[in-house]
């Protein structure tokens, strides 16, 4: 069974973003998801930060304060080994979900 929840989807997006971009701050994650989805998905800050905090407590991501290119101090997140495993699971789970939903939609 696919884990059919939206929170799972947000986690997946964040993990994937970090996997593709290395270390990124919260704002960077918002921008990347927006751009990569062709402006179709928008991550709400109100959901992103609790999710990041939870993933950090679960040991999926690690954080570190660093300077941005524009010389501002920001908190950077990067994927841990556990996070990489979690990403793999979440991707599989999402594929299942999509397949399941497709199957239902195609059913006539």
């Amino acid at each position: 069974m696919a884990k059919n929840d939206l929170q799972g989807t947000l986690d997946l997006l964040v993990l994937k973003t970090l996997a593709q971009n290395g270390a990124l701050h919260g704002y960077g994650i918002v921008l990347h998801v927006q751009n990569a989805s062709g402006e179709m998905l928008r991550v709400e800050e109100g959901s992103l930060y609790p999710a990041l905090h939870r993933m950090e407590l679960s040991g999926w991501v690690a954080s570190e304060w660093a300077m941005t290119e524009t010389n501002r101090r920001a908190k950077y997140y990067k994927l841990t080994a556990a996070g990489r495993r979690q990403l793999q699971q979440a991707e599989e789970s999402f594929d299942q979900l999509v397949k399941g939903v497709r199957a239902v939609l195609r059913y006539a």
């Binding site: 919260g26 109100g46 930060y49 407590l57 040991g59």
Partner: protein
């Protein structure tokens, strides 16, 4: 580690708050930068960024709440919330805590005692690697070992790191207060290394002291050091006299090393060269420590091959002997003590189950009252697992507080057990004096508390969650009707309480009845009118048969002249004491088939023994004064002996000899009489043994048990007995001076202890079951007050209402008793297989207990039923 981070976060709350603020500020600043870069005005850029971010306060709240949902912070909050909830329902909390404390208390006490006596009686490192090695004759009893065999084992085995030998001797101690009868363990120096134990004070003896002539050193047992020397550390270097030989005290053993349990002293065993050659005298007990990696089975297999080899080389002595290797722990307490403890522990865990059922019932009642609270929290978004966790936290808190109370109860209980155990019996239980509330016991009670909390809480908690939120909120805070489902669950709990109580009470009663039967076995001899005591004659002074015979003759003569004494006799074993010595016997002109053993109890008695104990002489004659030392040795055999070995003919005139085969120095005895059967066994009366009596004047034993029969109080006679015997030999101690009745009680101490503990358990279970059914019925009445009001308003009579409630109670009680009887029947058969003297199918007990419990259950439902019948219809309807 995620867990550590969570815990660390607890203590860095303010730092984390600042961290989150900083992160949000950075986020806003980055977006403002971007907006500015896209050409917005500074004001516009800032406004857009704030708008996109949403409410930072609520986001921050959600970030920090992640901590709470995930763990420790949440637990602390849960515990505080639980404590507040419990304080709000003090009646419930106190009842639950007391009940749990009682259950956990008796369990902790039982476990603590069992831990000390059965599980860890000796503080020996890796006790499971220490074994006893014994000879075994055929498939029969274990036999002490002959020294020459031990020496061979020691040289030839590969299984053991080291072996040690010890034997017990009775000695008289002089030179330290009154003369006393003491028991010493003669041990090889390796005894201490096999057990890996050291002296508490001073030192133990070494190899060089285990040689004849250098062996005059003694190590004290802790208990004896306390009793005799008042735990004086200056005792080291003291000189004492044992059997007229001077020994220097060099050490004291620790309290946790009471092995062999009846020893007062450890003395070096210094064998002579002849002793080392002896394969016929089976006098020694052998302990050994296994090599690492060798199992008991492997050692057993090796020793079996060794014993077969020895039997080939020394057929005269070793034919038919095999070797038995057994964990030391199995041998320390024998068979019965661990059995009693398992029985008590089992029953006590039963009590805990009853306690859990009781607390669960209380939870159900409370769950109904808390419905609105739970519905409200669900409506506000708490998840089911969250609420379940909260409810269980509350229970575990109850359990832990209960465990605290339980430890107090256990402490008190243990104190009572310890002071009520006769000192003479406690001495023979290796671990008894170690009983304490130690770390293992605390862990046990803690685990028990959590387990009890979860067991008693999970079902009510789940039932409480299974409710319809909207319905509940709609009906308001007054909605106090239990669902059909939780009502059924509560009934199940009440029924199981009654069932458990029935089983426990019947079990306890059967065992008590069995025990009473055993206590009264010797009633025919009027044991409350008989004074008994033991005398053992020190071999150093009583070194010839003449001296021993003179002592026995003189002592009996003096005792018989005391006022009030009707008989004064001696024997080596009184009836029903399990004290008789079973020996091999040979019948003249009848070859012994190797491997087939004939045996009988060996009983030297005084001339008047048969008359005093009303044992009829069926044929021939009894002993007389003419059967003296110089005369031809004679014997009287029991009826069973005659039937077993001389079927269809008279045994009189035949000659028998006690002891094994050719090697014995025992004389041939001519049978002159046949005596009626008398039972010497107490426990195992299923396989009765034949007996051979001989005259104590002719074959004087090294020690004897005296039986002084009187018209009055036997104990009042004790001082004059002591005085008249001291007149013959002032340094000869009298041991175990008590009435025959007390003696029987002492033998049964273990069973009496078990029966008493079970009775306590049974009473607690019964009480809780009564409270349980009362609670269920009271709640039923509470919940149905309105319905009862309607019934009464519609014209139902009060008797109908009363009958309604009582009928319900009868149903529950009936089912409970039915299940309980089935359980009791199974248990009774189990117990009867384990304990002799217990009849599993005692109809009187079953009927009496059933009626009693039914009466108690109905009586405890009477109060709620009466309350129901007195409901005022107007009041009940208006209250809605």
């Amino acid at each position: 580690m995620a867990v550590f981070r969570r815990i660390a976060n607890l203590f860095r709350r303010s730092r984390i708050d600042r961290d989150i603020d900083d992160e949000f500020q950075a986020h806003l600043a980055l977006r403002i930068d971007d907006n500015l870069a896209h050409g917005m005005s500074p004001d516009e850029a800032r406004r857009e960024a704030l708008l996109r971010f949403g409410n930072p306060a609520s986001t921050k709240e959600r970030v920090t709440s992640v901590d709470a949902a995930l763990g420790i912070d949440g637990i602390v909050r849960d515990v505080r919330y639980a404590a507040r909830q419990l304080l709000r329902a003090p009646g419930f909390a106190i009842t639950s805590i007391l009940t749990l404390a009682l259950g956990i208390g008796v369990n902790t006490a039982s476990f603590s005692s069992m831990d000390a006596v059965v599980l860890h009686p000796l503080a020996v490192p890796q006790l499971d690697r220490v074994v006893t090695v014994a000879d075994q004759q055929g498939r029969g009893d274990y036999k002490p070992v002959a020294l020459a065999n031990y020496e061979d084992w020691k040289r030839q085995n590969r299984s053991f790191e080291d072996l040690a030998v010890h034997s017990s001797v009775d000695m008289s101690l002089t030179g330290a207060g009154d003369a006393a009868h003491v028991r010493a363990a003669l041990t090889s120096a390796s005894f201490f290394s096999v057990l890996r134990t050291q002296a508490l004070l001073g030192r133990v003896f070494g190899e060089n002291e285990c040689q004849p002539g250098r062996d005059s050193v003694a190590v004290l047992n802790y208990g004896f050091w306390q009793r005799r020397f008042a735990a004086d550390p200056a005792v080291l270097g003291h000189k004492i006299e044992l059997n007229q030989r001077t020994y220097t005290i060099i050490g004291v053993m620790p309290k946790t090393m009471q092995y062999p349990s009846d020893s007062d002293f450890y003395l070096p065993f210094a064998p002579t060269p002849q002793q080392l050659q002896d394969r016929a005298t089976h006098d020694y007990l052998v302990t050994a420590r296994l090599h690492d990696g060798i199992t008991v089975q492997q050692a057993q297999a090796e020793m079996r091959i060794l014993s077969e080899h020895l039997a080939k080389v020394y057929p005269a002595t070793n034919q038919g002997l095999s070797i038995r290797v057994e964990p030391l722990l199995d041998g320390i307490n024998g068979e019965l003590t661990p059995l009693y403890y398992r029985l008590i522990m089992g029953a006590t865990l039963f009590v805990l189950l009853v306690v859990c059922a009781n607390v669960a019932n209380l939870q159900f009642a409370r769950g109904i009252a808390r419905r609105s609270e739970i519905a409200m929290r669900t409506a506000l978004g708490a998840s089911r697992t969250r609420i379940l966790r909260q409810l269980l936290t509350e229970n575990i808190l109850l359990g832990l507080v209960g465990a605290g109370g339980g430890l107090l109860i256990a402490g008190l209980y243990l104190h009572l057990i310890l002071i009520s155990m006769p000192a003479r019996v406690a001495r023979y239980m290796a671990g008894w004096s170690n009983t304490s509330l130690n770390g293992r016991v605390l862990t046990f009670s803690l685990l028990l508390a959590v387990a009890a909390a979860i067991v008693s809480g999970i079902v009510p908690a789940i039932a409480a969650l299974r409710l319809n939120v909207t319905e509940q909120l709609k009906s308001g805070s007054r909605g106090a009707t239990g669902s059909v489902k939780s009502g059924r669950l509560r009934n199940i709990f009440a029924v199981s309480q009654i069932a458990l109580a029935v089983a426990l009470v019947i079990g306890a009663t059967l065992i008590s009845k069995g025990m009473l039967g055993l206590l009264h076995l010797a009633d025919a001899y009027q044991p409350n009118k008989v004074l008994t005591f033991n005398v053992s004659l020190p071999p150093a002074r009583y070194d010839t048969d003449e001296k021993k015979a003179t002592w026995y003759k003189d002592s009996l003569a003096r005792l018989r002249t005391l006022p009030g004494v009707t008989h004064a006799e001696l024997t080596t074993a009184l009836p029903y004491t399990d004290n008789a010595w079973l020996r091999d016997c040979t019948i003249e002109n009848r070859p012994i088939v190797p491997g087939k053993f004939q045996s009988a109890f060996y009983l030297p008695v005084s001339d008047g023994y048969f008359a005093a104990f009303h044992i009829a002489i069926l044929a021939g004659r009894t002993f007389s004064a003419s059967d003296s030392l110089g005369a031809q040795p004679v014997a009287i055999v029991s009826r069973r002996f005659a039937a077993q070995y001389f079927p269809g003919q008279s045994p009189i005139g035949h000659r028998i000899r006690m002891g094994n085969s050719r090697l014995t120095h025992e004389p041939w005895l001519t049978i002159v009489g046949v005596a009626e059967e008398t039972t010497y066994a107490m426990w195992d009366r299923s396989t009765l043994q034949a007996a051979v009596y001989m005259s104590a004047a002719q074959l004087p034993p090294a020690g004897a048990t005296y039986a002084v029969m009187t018209n009055g109080d036997p104990l009042a006679l004790a001082p004059s007995v002591r005085k008249s015997l001291a007149a013959i030999d002032p340094s000869l101690p009298l041991d175990a001076v008590m009435t025959y009745e007390q003696y029987e009680h002492e033998i049964l101490t273990g069973l009496m202890y078990a029966a008493a503990m079970l009775a306590v358990d049974a009473v607690i279970a019964l009480l809780l079951a009564a409270i349980g059914i009362f609670g269920v019925m009271a709640n039923l009445v509470g919940e149905r007050t309105r319905e009862i009001g309607v019934r009464l308003a519609m014209g139902a009579r009060r008797e109908d209402v009363l009958a309604l409630i009582v009928r319900r109670a009868s149903w529950l009680t009936g089912i409970g008793i039915g299940c309980g009887l089935l359980l009791a029947f199974g248990l009774a058969h189990l117990v009867a297989n384990l304990l002799r003297g217990v009849r599993p199918d005692d109809p009187t007990v079953f009927v009496a207990i059933t009626v009693t419990i039914a009466a108690i259950a109905l009586a405890s439902s009477w109060i709620p039923a009466r309350r129901a019948s007195r409901v005022d219809p107007m009041q009940a309807l208006r209250s809605e």
